[in-house]
Symmetry: C2
Subunit: 415 residues, 2 copies
Amino acid sequence: MARARAVVVLTGSELSRGDKTDANGAFLARELTSLGLEPSRIMIVGDDPAELEAAVREGLEAELCVLSGGLGPTHDDRTVETLARAAGRELRIDADLVRQIEEVSRAVAERLGRPYADFTPGVHKQASLPDGAVALGLAGTAPAVLLECDGRLAVALPGPPNELRRLWQRVLESDGLQRLLARVEQPRHRVLRFFGPSESAVARVLEETGGEGEGLEVTVCAHDLEIRVDLLERPGGKERTAHVAEALRAHFAADLFAEDERPVAEIVLDRCRTLGLRLATAESCTGGLVGARLTDAAGASDVYVGGVIAYSNEVKERRLGVPADVLARHGAVSAEAAQAMAEGARDALDADAAIAVTGIAGPEGGTPEKPVGLVFISVLVPGREETERFVFSGDREAVRARATAQSLHALRRLL
Amino acid sequence: MARARAVVVLTGSELSRGDKTDANGAFLARELTSLGLEPSRIMIVGDDPAELEAAVREGLEAELCVLSGGLGPTHDDRTVETLARAAGRELRIDADLVRQIEEVSRAVAERLGRPYADFTPGVHKQASLPDGAVALGLAGTAPAVLLECDGRLAVALPGPPNELRRLWQRVLESDGLQRLLARVEQPRHRVLRFFGPSESAVARVLEETGGEGEGLEVTVCAHDLEIRVDLLERPGGKERTAHVAEALRAHFAADLFAEDERPVAEIVLDRCRTLGLRLATAESCTGGLVGARLTDAAGASDVYVGGVIAYSNEVKERRLGVPADVLARHGAVSAEAAQAMAEGARDALDADAAIAVTGIAGPEGGTPEKPVGLVFISVLVPGREETERFVFSGDREAVRARATAQSLHALRRLL
């Protein structure tokens, strides 16, 4: 069995011009990888017909081509017609699809108080499919389209990420995809996530163990202060994969914190839940990012009670009980202030565990003694408390992101 | 003068497999657009040498090709050698670059307590440039590279976004880019941002005014609850652009809230600053996202005093003074609770203006009367207060993002 290439084509001038950051490429790439396909290329192209057609033609050379965007009713939505042309198929109006789209359009017309006749051209456009294609469901008035073509598969999905994810499920259930997957080997995917070592230290150990080779692909990547190693085991690579994974586990035993995909915030919440601890936060420079990360996942509420965003010194003093003389003597960005904030959050919010962050995110506000990037993080659980000083590099956004990730890991380690 | 095509190639298996979401493509696309170039394609490819080479060859067909990633010292960092091969140039070791990289590497070796000899192969690799290329500066030990080639330009930049942005400045200052820009027409870019109308309503008005055509390109996109219209005026398009902009302004006068790029949080902060108002937040389902948005930009501290993340009912009661009987009678997700939270944040944090958000982000917790997506938002300024009910669609992440954006716009309108 061969490895199958997949290509993703994302279309829209708002993407190619950078007015909007794409949210579908990484999602689709992860999905394709987990299906055992190799997402060999992700392309973003604008509304220009020639650029779009060139990209679709390249996409059709892969075993699977996933298109996103350009399914709307207006003139610059050209994905389906381009797919038809590139695949050498005629466009035909699908009567069943006309009825479905008509129903949605009539409701919209009514809501907007416009005559339905205004919608007719759009309905016919959106109900036109390449000969032999099937519709997989609607997003608004836009159908997702699946086309099998010389043993290869092309699917066209809407651009809005929620709609894309919903209709991607239909693709997964389709006979066309199942037939493709039956011809593809399924790799085994393992992940090892470390907090502490540098990317190059991990790469060195990898190399010393033989690393990548027949039956094993490895990627190492640093993200959000963690070093993530992905091991893709292919047929014949079982022994090598086990050997590499064991060597990494042994060498960085203290730094290995996960072998699954759970975000660190979720790991922290799970650990608190097991220990019966209620968690509170106190944030200055991160302005709510730690709380936002903790509440990203559903079900945080049995552990996380809430937090205080103490951006001004007054709030630090009055709502977190940071003593005025700590602020006067050490400043709001100090180990003493961080510790008082953590204790204050615990006490004010009636929690058992706490995370506090105070720092200088920049670009203004730095001094020679307290440079931009200086952050103090204090974490506590019953009977233990830890405060650390960091100087993070990067711009305001990077300092805030790093401080957020570091604070979650600090509590994770204390737990 | 002709419009010049630009192509962006982002490399790294962590990107092509979706382990990491690209952060450079949209940045580079915006920069290229603002320089008057047409970013016709953004490609993400993995570490596979054949896929990378194919992408680089396509990139070199454009007037400007920007490469990002793959500049590191290890075997799977192949961008520079691939660029050399695709451009038909030899690789040569640059003696000056050897010295610069050596200096950085010696410091790293010392810090890690490793013999410098371990680093020598990496230094020679990273100091190798295609014949005729120039180095524009280092990111760690990785040089940014600029190569002029048959009147076209290729630049290779490091993958970490901060490094890329820093070294992109060097590209902007380079003679090579200046020579390219001298041959390119500069379009005028205008943006109109609306809050309120639907995307299709805006598209309809656009169409009725003649819309896109000779000398004017228009994109309409919905993002973060706003409808953004980008007008790219090219030579000969002055009158048409003015006409379209005027028609949109007139038709959606009440909904037009910005003609610049400032995030809505910044608009809110600026308005509060002008009025001398201090701002506080009270968040339940958004868990800190509103605070995080307000503190994204530097200089929020003279307006934003902080907030309370009231995830549990206890915190709502004790820290925001939401009356127990409001919670008992109406529930934590109610107009009454939202209003009490806003007033509580204002009073507890000694502010003048406040934003409060409470809702059911899902996926659990919904009931027939209070479905997932139900959110109450309350905003207040001295003498005025407004509470609204929303049912947002989408998953947990979408509901939280929409509630956050909506709450900022609610206060913006009240101001």
